[in-house]
């Protein structure tokens, strides 16, 4: 439909009235870039604002939303598209709106659309299931400067080159013609003058003899007539004596013995130098030559001669020179054209390729031909393009990755409990700190019934979106199944049964699950291949590792083995001040500055010493201290893995007889450990 666009701009804005300014600013820049006239720009901006306002009001009804502005600049028109994903609204009046109606109705609605239609040359409203587009087209009335610059870019170099070469050529030809012509004519005139001077001298010498010998007038006359005959360029010879009386006159013999009057333009006293005389029809030279006998002046020879012959000869030669020049110039122009082609075409070629490249054709390579300089440019350009397209691919990759991280962290956010539930007699704190790349850690603490609560820490193998999705499945399944099952072991078995069918092969989950019974103060524990729990026995002031056996969730089992059988369930009776810490390997495997691991021993030691020193402090202090300890150790290096832990302390002040059963359990636990 249109020719290739010159430029396309895409921008997104929040659908709020305070962003109308930004929308207009973007549109204004495009209008200026397309060199739309100031008047048109003002009205177009108005129309854009109206369109955007309509979207905010009618499509999104002031709710949250995005307005996408797409501006496509063509040579002679701009297409503005306002795209939204809100409610589709048919602009009132569907185009046939007129001002009279508006005034008549006294309503304001529809005025915006009326204005858009008045301002724009063409308006279309496209509504699909997923988006609405208000497409407005405005012609650019002034000749587009982009077209201009395009032309300039294409032709300037050539035209500049040609014009300058032509000018230089003309100056050189003109100057040389002028120089040679000047020299030639000067030479010819000088020669002529010299000839006439010599001739006049001869006449004067002869006349001197005639004066001395007192020759008759007839003899004088014969003298000059003979010279006149011999030299056709001579027009007039007049001989005067010392008293300026004419002794011989080549034109009219009757002038003899009369005083001589020189023509007005010359002086009789200017001796030996040709003087120009101009009559109505012709130009002459006038020469006065003295007639001397020794030092005595006897008279003067006045010679008038024509230089027209030279003039004609010069004109003739000039004509042929002119013809030659014309031929030269024609050939010169041809040469310039070919030369400019030779120089400009590689540049045009590069330009064309670059343009193709910018329009998205990445695979363009410049042929490595032409002069050395162009060869270099082409090479540099090819390198640049390769780099660019590589970079672009990297950017696309990076964006994909960034998007994935964004999605994963979005999911992750929804995974963690927003608020820790109140658990009777249990003081709980939990922490999740994501590594730079979203990992697959999870903790969850939720209420199953009035007395029973579930505390879990899990770690999914792998990172990113898949891990996050599996986490989200795990959490959902755990919460749903928890209501059904009373024992931790059975619950985890149910969860495994569901998950093993629904998670990608190769992915597995380790989880430490604790079910706390508030009534009996017992916790039952199962671990599916997870790192051990740390248990602080307040009466002994000692920390133990608690590590019930169990396979991770989602691991394919060997023939004859069942997940349920692999699980060992432990029950521990909590006494006042007893504490337990659930965590993921992000803590124990944290790397220190010397690349050593934080390790289980360090954690156990920290836990024990801290609790013995700060027994009365709230558990949140413990989490803080743990995090600080960890950061001290890693030196704030970027954590490679997530850090997740849940810590809980029993706050049962009611003294009740310590049941022997629980003691046995704990003892049994310790035996297992050692």
């Amino acid at each position: 439909m249109f020719r290739r666009p010159v430029k396309e701009i895409n921008a997104e804005f929040l659908a709020e009235e305070k962003y109308l300014d930004s929308i207009q600013r973007t549109a204004r820049e495009s209008c200026i870039a397309a060199s739309m006239s100031r008047k048109d720009t003002a009205s177009v901006l108005l129309a854009i604002e109206e369109g955007a306002t309509n979207i905010i009001r009618h499509a999104y009804l002031y709710e949250k939303g995005i307005i996408r502005l797409r501006i496509v600049i063509y040579k002679k028109l701009i297409v503005f598209s306002l795209i939204d994903s809100g409610r589709s609204f048919q602009p009132s009046g569907t185009g046939a709106l007129d001002l009279e109606q508006l005034v008549e109705s006294g309503r304001k609605g529809g005025l915006g659309f009326y204005m858009i239609q008045k301002i724009m040359d063409s308006v279309e409203y496209i509504s699909t299931a997923s988006f609405n587009e208000l497409r407005m087209i405005k012609h650019i009335s002034a000749p587009s400067p982009i077209g201009h610059t395009f032309l300039r870019r294409l032709f300037t170099l050539r035209v500049k080159f040609s014009v300058w070469t032509f000018i230089i050529m003309c100056v050189i030809i003109g100057a040389s013609i002028y120089y040679f012509d000047y020299r030639a004519s000067k030479l010819m005139y000088t020669h002529k003058h010299e000839t006439v001077q010599a001739l006049s001298k001869t006449i004067a010498d002869q006349a001197a003899g005639y004066f001395i010998n007192r020759r008759s007038d007839v003899e004088f006359d014969e003298l000059i007539v003979s010279y006149m005959r011999a030299n056709p360029e001579l027009k007039l010879i007049v001989l005067t004596d010392s008293a300026n009386i004419i002794r011989a006159h080549s034109d009219d013999i009757r002038n003899i013995r009369r005083p001589y009057r020189v023509p007005e333009q010359v002086s009789a006293d200017t001796i030996g130098v040709p003087q120009p005389v101009t009559t109505e029809f012709e130009k002459f030279s006038y020469l006065v030559t003295p007639i001397r006998a020794g030092e005595r002046l006897l008279g003067k020879v006045h010679t008038t001669y024509s230089t027209a012959g030279i003039y004609f000869r010069l004109t003739e030669s000039r004509r042929s020179i002119f013809l030659l020049t014309v031929v030269l110039v024609v050939f010169g122009i041809l040469g310039i054209y070919l030369l400019s082609n030779y120089f400009v075409s590689p540049i045009l070629n590069i330009t064309r390729r670059v343009r193709r490249f910018t329009s998205g054709e990445m695979e363009t390579e410049l042929p490595l031909t032409g002069a050395e300089e162009f060869f270099e440019i082409s090479k540099a350009f090819n390198q640049m393009m390769t780099r660019l397209s590589q970079d672009q691919r990297n950017v696309v990759e990076r964006e994909k990755l960034a998007k994935e991280i964004e999605v994963a962290s979005e999911i992750q956010k929804t995974l963690l409990p927003r608020k820790l539930p109140e658990v009777p007699h249990l003081e709980i704190d939990a922490l999740y700190r994501a590594a730079s790349v979203i990992g697959g850690d999870l903790y969850d603490i939720f209420k199953i019934s009035e007395e029973r609560y579930c505390l879990a820490v899990a770690d999914v193998s792998g990172k990113g979106v898949p891990a996050s999705l599996v986490m989200s499945i795990l959490r959902t399944v755990l919460q749903i199944q928890a209501a059904e099952e009373t024992s931790a072991k059975k619950l985890l078995t149910r969860v495994d049964g569901y998950l093993s069918q629904n998670i990608p092969t190769g992915m597995f989950i380790t989880i430490f699950l604790v079910i706390y019974d508030a009534e009996t103060s017992r916790i039952s524990l199962v671990s599916a291949g997870h790192t051990p729990m740390l248990f602080y026995d307040a009466s002994k002031k000692a920390v133990d590792k608690v590590n019930p056996k169990g396979l991770p969730l989602g691991v394919p089992l060997a023939e004859g083995r069942s997940f349920e059988e692999s699980l060992e369930e432990l029950v521990v009776k909590l006494n006042h001040e007893d504490m337990f810490l659930l965590f993921t390997d992000g803590i124990t495997e944290a790397r220190g500055r010397d690349n050593s691991q934080f390790g289980m021993e360090r954690l156990t030691a920290f836990f024990e010493s801290y609790l013995n020193e700060h027994a009365a402090e709230p558990v949140s202090n413990l989490s803080e201290a743990l995090v600080n300890q960890l950061d001290d150790f890693t030196g704030f290096a970027k954590a490679a893995d997530d850090v997740t832990f849940v810590v809980a302390r029993c706050r049962r002040c009611v003294k009740e007889p310590v049941s022997s059963e629980s003691d046995i359990q704990v003892k049994k636990l310790r035996e297992k450990e050692h």
Partner: protein, 128 residues
């Protein structure tokens, strides 16, 4: 974000009210102008000159105020006269063919004078 200022001038003896607007009349600011206009109409003041010399930009919300009231105002022998629009605004006014509906004057005085005749008539009528 409030880039509008409106001042109201109600000459004691004349029936003409003058609204002077400075700034931008857009979606965000138009209500302020409408409030002022409404307050005039409520007090039966229908001869209104709007001095737009200080207005850089009027969006549909702004034009809508004038367009939506003009019929009622004229029905009561009044008018809304726009005065001293800057070039940018006047070009839009012409482009949108509002000149068919709203009258515009180069200056406030011209707009006031345009009321002159009918204003006096009104006065005489009411006196008589």
């Amino acid at each position: 974000m409030d880039n509008i200022s409106i001042s109201l001038l109600e000459g004691g003896r004349t029936e003409i009210s003058e609204i002077r607007v400075d700034g931008v009349i857009d979606t965000l600011t138009a209500t302020q102008l409408e409030d002022v206009l409404d307050s005039l109409l409520k007090r039966d003041r229908y001869k209104i000159v709007v001095d737009l010399a200080g207005v850089d930009y009027i969006s549909s919300a702004g034009w809508g105020i004038f367009i939506s009231h003009i019929k009622d105002v004229r029905a009561r022998d009044g008018d809304i006269k726009l005065a001293s629009m800057i070039d940018n605004v006047f070009e839009i006014y012409e482009l949108l063919e509002f000149d068919n509906v709203l009258s515009a004057y180069a200056s406030v005085d011209e707009a006031r004078n345009a009321f002159g005749g009918s204003g006096d008539d009104q006065k005489k009528k009411s006196e008589g």
